[in-house]
């Protein structure tokens, strides 16, 4: 599974962090950072994170 966040679209709402904290984090500067190739076991959480993104900036491939 590959996770792609369109950083031109992302506005650092951080909603994804609550759905999949293992994959998405807000750093000390308030910007989103994420793991691009998370373990398959996290798929449900990552899909939920993509659903709740206010800007719909998260794409899952594979």
């Amino acid at each position: 599974m590959k996770v792609i966040v369109d950083m031109d679209v992302c506005k650092d709402h951080g909603q994804c962090v609550f759905s999949a904290p293992e994959v998405f984090q807000i750093n000390e500067n308030g910007r989103l950072v994420y793991e691009a190739e998370p373990d398959e076991s996290l798929r449900d959480a990552v899909e939920e994170a993509a659903d709740v993104c206010p800007l719909q900036a998260i794409t899952i491939e594979g």
């Binding site: 709402h13 951080g14 962090v17 807000i26 308030g30 659903d51 709740v52 719909q56």
Partner: protein, 396 residues
């Protein structure tokens, strides 16, 4: 299997319902019916970034997961009526669709003012077409009158101002966004808007629109006359439930549901999104509709499980449904985020961090307990307050 679920409504709630039904293991037919011609799209940008740039379906369309590739979309056709006894809906084009399960996801439509005067030049913001029509009239030369000082009205005011328009907001309340933010935070946000050049004429309403073929201005309840070539009516919304009339349902404010999103007394019929009125045990158990962006996703997840149970396809889920309502608003460079139910804590509002004219966290309390939080900025504080709300606001 041969089962069919009809989803009435092809916006976010309808899409999420289809996704969750597939995720719950439903393999039967799904037909989603929507009155708009577009595949589901994300509405919040229509008063914010999409309105500020070019409004296209591509820019706001939801991605379709492979799991919902076999859903049948009947778009551009409103549902005319439903017979819940016969388990069938009738579409406006005369087609009849029988169902085993029904998802009500028809959402809301903007209220329109009954105010006399010309109608050309008067806008609402709900659909893509609405936003395109408004966008085509916004620019540095536009004189814009926004009626309504809730979130949509204030977002449109901010976006129009960023596009260089002359903007006046008229509303009956004394403070913008008063419900649910409260007087102090609402007044602080009004000051931010005024610093950007937006004019507020509060405590009054529009008595008449002026002009012949199209709007050229408005006369207010106090006799004030304003020039305005573009009017935006942001005065709340009404539930799209007329098609359910005649079935004995409580449609007094959306569709009354139980805590599992099952329409009261109607197994096999669920409602999702802002049209669903359901009790939330996180608070006082009173059934309410919630017009927040997080609600279609949350309710679809629960409603899909309920429908699977009613169709005999999965077991009963006894867990109470207690979503944490969440919404945000972008106005200028301000990020306003709300978690929980600020409106329920309106009698005990406290600044928890920061100050009202800068970055701030405002807490809303019931019986001393935090039930809602609104943040302006302070992204690093979000997780802490959200965790507190998740922990302590489920009523015993």
């Amino acid at each position: 299997m041969g089962q069919r679920i009809v989803i009435a409504g092809a916006s976010m709630g309808g899409l999420r319902a289809a996704e969750r039904l597939r995720a719950s293991g439903y393999t039967g037919e799904i037909v989603a019916v929507g009155d708009e011609t577009h595949m589901p799209y994300n509405r919040p940008p229509l008063s914010k970034e999409a309105l500020a740039s070019e409004v296209t379906h591509e820019a706001v369309a939801f991605r379709l997961r492979p799991a919902v590739a076999d859903v049948t979309w009947r778009l551009g056709v409103p549902i005319a009526s439903a017979d819940l006894e016969a388990r069938a809906v009738r579409l406006a084009d005369g087609a009849e669709l029988a169902y085993d399960g029904l998802v009500i996801a028809t959402g809301m439509r903007p209220r329109r003012l009954p105010t006399p005067g010309p109608t050309a030049g008067r806008h609402v913001v709900r659909t893509l077409e609405d936003a395109c029509a408004l966008r085509s009239e916004l620019g540095p030369d536009a004189r814009v009158l926004v009626i309504g000082a809730g979130f949509i009205g204030c977002e449109v005011a901010a976006t129009a101002r960023l596009l260089g328009a002359d903007v006046t907001v008229v509303a009956p309340e004394a403070v913008p966004m008063r419900r649910p933010l409260g007087d102090d935070l609402g007044a602080a946000l009004q000051r931010r808007h005024e610093q950007q050049g937006v004019r507020f004429l509060l405590g009054r309403t529009v008595a008449a629109f002026l002009g012949e073929d199209r709007v050229t201005g408005a006369e207010l309840s106090d006799g004030t006359r304003l020039d305005a070539g573009v009017v935006v009516e942001a005065v709340g919304s009404a539930s799209n439930t007329e098609w359910l009339d005649g079935n004995g349902l409580d449609l007094s404010d959306g569709v009354l549901c139980d805590n599992a999103l099952r329409v009261e007394g109607r197994p096999g019929v669920v409602a999702v999104g802002d049209v669903a009125r359901f009790p939330n045990p996180r608070y006082d158990g009173v059934a309410r509709r919630i017009e927040h962006w997080s609600i279609p996703t949350d309710t679809a997840k629960r409603a899909a499980v309920t429908l699977m149970t009613d169709l005999g396809l999965s077991g009963h889920d006894p867990a109470p449904f207690a979503p944490l309502p969440t919404f945000w608003s972008d106005q200028y460079d301000l990020r306003i985020q709300s978690f929980g139910a600020p409106a329920l804590g309106a009698d005990d509002i406290r600044v928890l961090e920061g100050d009202l004219d800068g970055e701030v966290v405002v807490g809303y309390h019931t019986d001393g307990a935090l039930v809602g939080v609104v943040l302006i900025g302070l992204p690093s504080a979000v997780a802490r307050y959200r965790a507190e709300l998740m922990r302590n606001s489920v009523a015993a």
